[in-house]
Symmetry: C2
């Protein structure tokens, strides 16, 4: 608008010179100047930054993220700018996931949705009433570009479950122009499925199985009070078709199943939590810190968070999944060799280098953190608590042990023996 | 701006009549009309609604929330409009909590913060770069009013830890003009603490202990990868001073402890999850559904969510807390009588009313959900799973049992016997 105001003021100047009485022009000019000021109420759009700085100043949008490096959580936070993430479904979960990744400074976001923003969406985060009527992709790009101009945004306003849409979807995933050095068939690092129906999940599943693309699935229940996220690595974990839902629409369009005048409930809380867990696990996956959850549920009525692992189904109905399973089994010797090499490398760096100083004037001795924790646990520490207070907080490791006891099974053996592998291969070849 | 554009166009009309050649005016008018159109890009602000409708149409901003009633999750969702919630600290957690409550249609929000928006806040949700330089309270009111004009917003730009600020804080909490029929000393239903320092938490604790005000505390760790929420009911649960942190600033201003050039890390994910858990538990508390967690931690590296209960400390340093503890103990007979009456009422409504129809042409028999679940569990159901899939998902009740085993203690007895109560009273009187 600045350009338009300038042109208007220039025209007024020209007009003023041609008039004998400049008074009406002065009045017009003050009007226009007033309007120009008003229009600037929303002017601040920060300029792009070339490199992520860890400088602690109020004007640095990345200082609190780069601090993750200083805190020892992430080795190299700046790598985030190299990653591409595709988000399918820009609704209550997908839009918040997109905003989180944008604020984290992700390199490139690909957004897919065919729907438009409605007032009925206002009970979830992200979209604003002034965006009603816009496509969700357009509205998302508008908001995200304003929040962080450093992120490359690509939006696709289309339905990935149509033949044409599915083709556009897979070809957009294989585009490698953003990071030409990327290995493998796909140009993105992670696909997040944030859709609300079975058909669309199966389409994402098909594309990712074909492209050997790791993806994460998310979902929220119809009654709005529970949700889940799940990691899917083709060939290595169960795919979405390996363990399909028990009841799905068969032969008819899923959308016609929705009864007239009836809609699913939704809450900004449940969707915000699911989006947060989804993007947190995406960050752990991309930046290589913490442990990525294979499956994490959220039951909000009881604040219960179930976890589980699902291995691929050798009788899976998805042909591309069976192909990935075969490849995964064939690559076992390679994985074993790599794991062995890593273990040996770790062991060689862990060799005791002896004390740094020979003298020890102050008799300082180093206590191992792990051992100290055990000692604290072993001591009857509840004695030191004031009356009326009890410790009821188990540590993470005890929790995992407890779950193993509760479910009546120890940890399943990770490494399959040769006999098992043979059986699996035979089953796959027979399928 | 619409008024200003109209005035400008009127002036142009007047000027046109006084000129022999109208061409320059035509050019000016098209400029102005173009600008007026551009300025309308952001016009949509939905009108207020009188009553929450459950009608399933795209234009109803409450349809997905009212669906919670139809789904049997909430008895009366509309009650949300009667509630007042105070949020102290409008940062990474508080701002998102405010947005969630606003989108849920909460009656009234009181917002407290003294800080201004900086670019360095952009790695968390809610604030936009164009709001840099505004106070967080002003920026929040701007955004929230646009999202949902039905919510009554009151903002307090001040520090609650100063003498003056603390007085304004407590007097704002006691204002009952929004809901004059509200019982007790406070005019709000819940206080959410979303601050980032010990001093401010102690100020919220003091005010809530004095006003018998239930509140929830929240926090995120300096390394950005864990957080927690906690419910505090004066006299009934531990207050914030009952079990203070092990290390706090003593005698000096906490803020001076921050080292130059060093800042805490933060992530939109962790803060979004903590805000989501906080508001979800607030909704459960206000609308009376599910179970409100007394304490819920979030360890994002392992996706571990510890829970615990903390009873009040009879040696608490906070005088108001000790007073509330006394009141709570004295009110025990009343609570017991109420619990007994409720139990009897429930029992009388649970009397079997017999079958609705005498005939049963189709031999339909009702199977109890609970029993059916047990049967499924008892059956050797793992046989029916395809090879390669195992069940590793314990149900919520098994999880709780497991935690009890892991922590080496059964559930602590909820009801104190008379001897215990006497001891507690003596301890309180001695303090």
């Amino acid at each position: 608008m600045e350009v338009e105001f300038k042109a208007l003021l220039d025209d007024l100047d020209v007009l003023e010179k041609s008039l004998s009485d400049p008074a009406p022009i002065h009045k017009l000019r003050s009007h226009v100047e007033n309007l120009a000021t008003l229009s600037k109420c929303n002017p601040h759009r920060r300029s792009k930054v070339k490199e992520l700085s860890s400088e602690v100043v109020d004007s640095n949008p990345y200082s609190r993220l780069m601090a993750l490096q200083r805190m020892g959580i992430v080795d190299n936070y700046e790598r985030i700018r190299e990653f591409s993430v595709a988000i399918v479904g820009i609704g209550g979960v997908g839009s918040v996931a997109a905003e989180m990744l944008t604020r984290c400074g992700i390199g490139r976001l690909l957004l897919y949705d065919y729907d438009t923003v409605e007032l009925a969406n206002m009970n979830r985060l992200f979209f604003r009433p002034d965006q009603v009527g816009m496509t969700k992709t357009d509205a998302a790009v508008q908001t995200l570009a304003e929040i962080n101009p450093d992120v490359v945004l690509e939006s696709f306003t289309m339905n990935i479950t149509t033949v044409q849409g599915f083709e556009t979807f897979t070809s957009s995933l294989t585009n490698k122009s953003f990071c030409p050095s990327k290995e493998g068939g796909s140009g993105v690092d992670l696909v997040l499925s944030c859709v609300d129906n079975y058909e669309a999940r199966m389409a994402v599943n098909q594309a990712c199985n074909e492209l050997r693309q790791t993806w994460m699935e998310s979902g929220v229940s119809e009654d709005a009070v529970s949700g889940h996220i799940q990691l899917l690595v083709p060939g290595e974990t169960a795919c979405f078709a390996c363990a399909p839902p028990l009841v799905v629409a068969s032969g008819i369009d899923e959308r016609t199943l929705k009864r007239e005048g009836v809609c699913a409930a939704s809450l900004p809380t449940t969707m915000g939590v699911v989006a947060g867990l989804l993007v947190q696990n995406s960050l752990k996956f991309l930046l290589n810190f913490g442990e990525v959850s294979p499956y994490l549920g959220y039951n909000s009525l009881k604040d219960f968070f179930p976890t589980m692992k699902m291995r691929p189904n050798p009788q899976c109905s998805n042909v591309a999944c069976l192909q990935r399973q075969k490849e995964y089994i064939f690559a076992k010797p390679e994985r074993d060799a790599a794991a062995k090499a890593k273990m040996e490398a770790d062991a060689s760096t862990a060799i005791d280098e002896g004390p740094l100083h020979d003298d020890n004037e102050w008799n300082i001795s180093v206590v191992d953190d792990e051992n100290e924790k055990d000692t604290t646990k072993a001591a009857s520490s509840s004695d030191t608590l004031p009356e009326g207070l009890t410790r009821e907080l188990p540590v993470a490791d005890e929790y995992e042990k407890a779950i193993a006891i509760a479910s009546g099974s120890g940890e399943t053996e990770e490494e399959d023996d040769l006999e098992d592998l043979k059986k699996q291969l035979e089953a796959l070849n027979a399928a």
